[in-house]
Symmetry: C2
Subunit: 248 residues, 2 copies
């Protein structure tokens, strides 16, 4: 099973929007996929019309009393299952810190899914925490939606430094530009500077479009309800690029 | 001393942009003000050209070995000081959970500032955590930048429920619309529905303007470098409304 995180410590950059669309496309490409909504706010769960599972509990999951396969729910889309968010997930940091190997708890929890799935996608909450460190340790690849702003450049520097210092050479970092408005000179300037500094940025850029914002109203992945729309094309380009990088 | 938090569990909604501009305006109105950047990413510290203090440490602050006044730094603006962000702040949840009264640690830490300041402004990281609960317990008022999206309505419901259930009747919740694009029908629809459901929404709406986005490039509060600009006027309207609500 491949573990792909969609993460950025910065908030509101399009993590959930990306995770939901790519999870749908991963399943549509034939991979048995499960999307785990790690954000206690549950935006991905809301978008996929899922609901919390009464039996979910951060404490029980971290201690091993409860296993992830017990909490999986189907979605309306073939090949795509969901691990719904839970309010108790806000306690992950505290629960993980109480155990041995606190930065490996997520990896250990996800092992129970290995038999059933080809791909585990993680929608991550914003913020820097013990959970975000767990995600970096568990993931094979991290997709990083990046706004074309000055602070994003700084965030990417911090992320690449962190990964280099920790020696995680097998972790693939896949940043791409999200919510791009090419009419803005600020966005043009930052994109040019960032591409020079980080040549591994994905080529696909996701524009800032109302059509994408409305996904939260439709509560469904865009390729599911508008497969030939410009937005669906953008996400399928993004997924193709990610799939190529995973095979390298 | 009044404690005013700028908080929203949702990421990327304009918390830091709001906190920096209102901190400047609070100081300009004659209140001795300190802005505490609680986000380990340090976006407010970056915007005010501050730097982390070597002696800052989440562990020492929570245990009382280190006091906040020791970490305060001046800014370029009269009457405005800064408590810079620190990378160790990502451990706040774990450190607070190790102490008695874990949800009151922030309030206790802030007491040492009472003598020196009229106003403590908190720029909060995104996410739901023990720190975010500490903020609700310590604050006299919480300013909530709210995007005009369907998920925001849900977030406001959750916040008001949480505050009502916890019995914090003296906590003032001050939501306002942030990053508004009135040309979008989605934004118009959500604003109308939200104002009906939450009549206490502030009247001031902060538009989605490049001029505001560029503040991250200027690295200064907008009223400091463009006092008569449309954006500066919007933030001074926002501050006036907040100041009126605080006196009620
Ligand atoms: N490409 C886009 N164009 C327009 N709006 C977008 C785009 N991507 C995301 N949005 C909108 O921006 C907001 C933030 O997106 P989203 O919730 O996916 O970000 P996030 O990084 O998951 O946020 P959080 O940090 O709170 O989890 C949402 O209102 C969403 O509808
Ligand atoms: N009114 C606005 N118009 C245009 N851009 C804005 C506006 N307010 C904020 N921004 C931009 O949107 C992005 C998010 O803003 P900001 O960093 O203030 O949000 P935040 O809520 O503090 O984010 P986080 O949750 O990561 O702390 C930044 O790039 C900022 O420049
Ligand atoms: Mg999200
Ligand atoms: Mg911020």
């Amino acid at each position: 099973m491949e573990i792909i995180a969609v993460s950025n410590i910065k908030g509101g950059v399009g993590k959930t929007t990306t995770a939901v669309n790519l999870a749908y496309l991963a399943a549509a490409s034939g991979r048995a996929t499960v999307l785990w909504d790690l954000d206690p706010q549950g935006a991905a769960t809301y978008t996929l019309r899922g609901a919390p599972n009464e039996r979910a509990s951060a404490r029980k999951l971290v201690s091993g009393k409860r296993e992830l396969p017990e909490l999986v729910a189907p979605t309306d889309y073939a090949g795509l299952d969901l691990l719904p968010a839970d309010f108790s997930y806000r306690q992950f940091d505290v629960r993980m810190s109480e155990r041995k190997h606190p930065t490996e708890r997520l990896l250990r929890m996800s092992r129970s899914l290995n038999q059933d799935y080809d791909c585990l996608l993680l929608d991550c909450p914003p913020g820097m925490s013990l959970l975000s460190e767990n995600v970096l340790r568990a993931a094979d690849a991290v997709i990083v939606p990046t706004l074309p702003t000055p602070l994003s450049l700084r965030m990417l520097e911090q992320l690449f430094d962190l990964v280099a210092q920790a020696g995680w050479s097998d972790l693939r970092l896949l940043p791409f530009f999200s919510m791009v408005d090419r009419r803005k000179s600020l966005h043009e300037e930052v994109i040019a500077a960032t591409r020079q500094r980080f040549p591994m940025m994905l080529a696909t850029e996701v524009p800032y479009w109302s059509e994408i914002e409305r996904m939260a109203v439709r509560r469904a992945p865009i390729p599911a309800y508008a497969p030939r729309s410009p937005a669906a094309l953008v996400y399928s380009n993004l997924w193709s690029e990610v799939a190529v990088r995973l095979r390298q």
